[in-house]
Symmetry: C2
């Protein structure tokens, strides 16, 4: 299982935005859509062994939207992925893991705290970390990525136990990181 | 210089489509937008050393739209990238390399033939090729990628001289390939 957690610092968690304005009123939901695209799509199918949590940190309405590999009616483009996110955000209630459309897209009324991620599985990108290609990774890793804004000090503190891995000195967009992580992990599976 | 050529077999080369329907009437222009995103964007800037040619093979209106690193007013989302493609397609005339908005996005009235790519620089993805990580690549490589449809027999024949490199047995989306290629080439530059 490969698990990606994408933290959105600006996303409008009430879903009250237009699909024509993902970069503006939606608060950069386009960034989340591209991460979903990289996490799930192969040329001829959907990766089954993937979970993605989109964490909206809005303090008035902390919300997590969870996509699993079972959500196999996804389309790869930003607009249609945003529509699925929006539907889940609008259906958010007070109970966790409600699946409004019954397609493997669940919503919960909490952020990182409520996810209670296993510290031993956490992986963070860090230029000072071990190179991704050779790093000793936890089984079933949980890769944590931020949107276009860096993690806050509080978030970093909460993730202090994470394994640190490096892609080198460049800072890459989250969706590019997800593509490279998948490819490196695919390569490992191909090497006996 | 890193050069990517993305061949669109279904793109509507007259630009007569809505930005709300990139996957439908536009003929999967969303695929091209994601390739542009992966080709140009770093977290805090645009890659200057990149050229991307989007080749529309429509036999009635073969067209190439060329983005260079100088096109530095790009936004990373599909909708705004599609808008830039559309503007260039609509401005296509009979003369090559017309830049309608004077922002480093040029259009030409020909497809792969007219590009006259140097065979010694061509690189194709091929599961039987050398692993990308260790392959002997040409200087200033030109990576050729197809959209959601494979290259035609005629296209493959025209690209027969290309160096073949492999990302492994999976078939990845073009934008994921571009992300991995950039990262591998970045890594090579970091290793003395």
């Amino acid at each position: 299982m490969r698990h990606f957690v994408i933290v959105s610092h600006t996303g409008a968690a009430d879903g009250s935005w237009s699909l024509d304005d993902l970069c503006g009123a939606a608060g950069r939901v386009d960034v989340l859509c591209r991460a979903l695209n990289s996490a799930f799509f192969l040329s001829h199918g959907i990766r089954d062994d993937v979970v993605v949590d989109l964490v909206f940190t809005d303090p008035q309405r902390p919300t997590t939207v969870r996509f699993t590999g079972a959500a196999n009616r996804l389309n790869p483009d930003e607009r249609s992925l945003a529509s699925r996110i929006q539907k889940a955000l609008r259906a958010r209630g007070e109970d966790p893991w409600f699946d409004p459309s019954e397609t493997g897209i669940d919503v919960a009324p909490f952020g990182l705290d409520g996810l209670a991620l296993d510290p031993a599985r956490l992986v963070l990108l860090d230029p000072e970390g071990e190179p991704l290609e050779s790093a000793d990774l936890p089984e079933d890793p949980v890769f944590l990525l931020s949107d276009h804004q860096p993690f806050t000090k509080e978030e970093y503190a909460a993730l202090a136990a994470a394994t640190r891995v490096s892609l080198g000195p460049h800072w890459y967009h989250g969706n590019h990181v997800v593509s490279c992580v998948h490819w490196v992990l695919d390569r490992r599976l191909q090497t006996p």
